[in-house]
């Protein structure tokens, strides 16, 4: 069954398997060997999927003038993507707020990547930015389907007093978040599971947040660092979906429960749900970025953002974990701003603040070791 895949990666990290395969009892060795081959199978599968993605990459629609081209589609509450084109590049504003938000938000996201990081759209090859709004009814979500952004209207189908979510285009950082999933798909290709998946989410939150700060020309100190501010209706006790400043405190509500994000490795959540907690554990690197950006000061997209962007583009791979992300951002900061620079120091301090030492060995998330031993019959 497919969902075993998610837990397998948590339960049986490869290095641990290798350790057991060399040092365990005979029975343990056999089990470890069996599972190592599964891990290798998964890796081969992923490599194949990644190369397929590369194969399809050239077919991505390209902007007519090789620069910025946006199209917003209306799915009219249906599911057939992309829907009817309702606003094209250069068209005047629509009467539909969701259409304008998708258009403007993808525009600012394009501008940040182009003006600050020298990247020409999602694939760095003028890929057209397609967005579909009004997806299904009562769809309280937004996602990146591998080719385009898709936005629901929240729970517009419920009576006003029961509604928890507004339309998902309402917060520009959600738009930057979805588009950044596209950038990650073309660069680091972080697997959407466990720590690589949480890093995938982290990158989307970082650049989503930077799009919002860039639009408002806010410094790190002026920014609220909230992801999805304005998405909740007044019925919810919360300021947004996540906060990079204080993960775990975005909402605490009788209906939705409490924001489950940790801000430190010692609170890392081991769970098979949500592809291994990709939207939960992203709180840890999110907070490291926030700390680094605050220490550097000024506009966060200029230095901290550049360090993270170059790391995403050039260093991270599909199976990278938090420790590697920390080490790579530290290395990149040294390359961009000098070894021992204030910027590099800030990156080091940022990660230290969430329990990750540069060049160190992040302790295995709690629960994983136990589960492994249980699985192998040793505990």
């Amino acid at each position: 069954m497919h969902n075993h895949r998610h837990s397998l990666e948590c339960i049986l990290p490869e290095h641990m398997l290798e350790q057991i395969a060399t040092k365990g009892s005979n029975a343990q060795k056999q089990m470890a060997m069996d599972n190592i081959s599964v891990v290798y199978q998964l890796r081969a599968e992923r490599a194949m999927r990644a190369s397929l993605a590369d194969l399809f990459a050239p077919t991505m629609p390209r902007a007519a003038d090789g620069g910025k081209e946006r199209i917003v589609y209306d799915v009219k509450r249906g599911t057939s993507l992309p829907g009817t084109a309702v606003r094209r590049e250069g068209d005047p504003a629509s009467a539909d707020a969701a259409v304008n938000e998708a258009y403007d938000g993808s525009g600012v996201t394009y501008d940040l990547y182009k003006e600050v990081y020298g990247r020409n759209s999602i694939n760095n090859n003028a890929m057209r930015l397609d967005s579909s709004v009004h997806y299904r009814t009562g769809y309280d979500n937004a996602f990146w389907d591998g080719k385009q952004m898709v936005y629901g209207d929240g729970d517009e189908n419920l009576p006003a007093e029961d509604r928890l979510f507004n339309r998902f285009t309402i917060a520009i950082d959600i738009i930057g978040h979805e588009l950044t999933h596209g950038v990650t798909q073309f660069e680091a290709k972080l697997v959407y599971s466990q720590q690589p998946g949480a890093l995938n989410e982290h990158m989307s939150d970082v650049f989503g947040s930077l799009v919002k700060q860039y639009q408002s020309r806010q410094t790190a100190a002026e920014a609220d660092w909230i992801i999805g501010a304005g998405l909740f209706t007044p019925n919810v006790n919360g300021v947004g979906i996540r906060t990079m400043k204080a993960p775990g405190s975005a909402y605490d509500d009788p209906v939705l429960g409490k924001d489950p994000q940790p801000a430190h490795m010692k609170e890392y959540v081991s769970t098979p749900s949500d592809n291994g907690g990709v939207h939960i554990n992203s709180g840890i690197p999110n907070h490291a970025f926030y700390r680094a950006a605050m220490e550097i000061g000024g506009y966060a997209w200029e230095k901290a953002g550049m360090i993270w962007y170059v790391t995403l583009r050039d260093k991270l791979g599909e199976n990278s974990n938090f420790q590697q992300c920390a080490d790579f951002t530290h290395q990149t900061a040294g390359e961009l701003f000098g070894s021992g620079s204030l910027e590099q120091q800030a990156v080091k301090n940022g990660w230290a603040g969430v329990g990750i030492a540069i060049g160190g060995e992040t302790p295995e998330p709690k629960g994983c070791l136990e589960a492994t031993l249980r699985f192998l019959g040793a505990a």
């Binding site: 069954m1 497919h2 599911t79 996602f143 389907d145 979805e178 592809n275």
Partner: protein, 106 residues
């Protein structure tokens, strides 16, 4: 299959907020339990594979886990949004609404 209980869980999504409900079909209003039975029959639920769609490759998509119980028999299906399957879409929307109502009561 005379369905008695349904367990429903939705995880993932941009917000990463879990939505779950566990209810007796007999507690539902007649029209709803009727619709539910019809949808499960139309889907031939007991014959569905344990994993319908792969949501791992779609960032921020939802993952749904539906368990249907009848006496000692039970079957669990994991699926993504399944936009190509109209009956599954209807079932997911109905279960979502029921889960939201259920939470509201507490």
């Amino acid at each position: 299959m005379d369905v008695e209980r349904i367990k429903f869980e939705r995880t993932g999504g941009f917000a990463g907020i879990r939505l779950a409900a566990d209810f007796d079909v007999s507690d539902l209003p007649d029209d709803l339990s009727q619709t539910l039975r019809e949808l499960l029959n139309a889907l031939d639920f007991p014959e569905l594979p344990a994993r319908l769609t792969n949501s791992e490759s779609v960032p921020d998509s939802f993952t749904y886990v539906i368990t249907v119980e009848a006496g000692k028999w039970h079957h669990t299906v994991i699926t993504g949004d399944a936009p190509e399957n109209e009956n599954m879409q209807e079932l997911l929307e109905l279960l979502n609404r029921l889960a939201r109502k259920k939470i509201k009561k507490h």
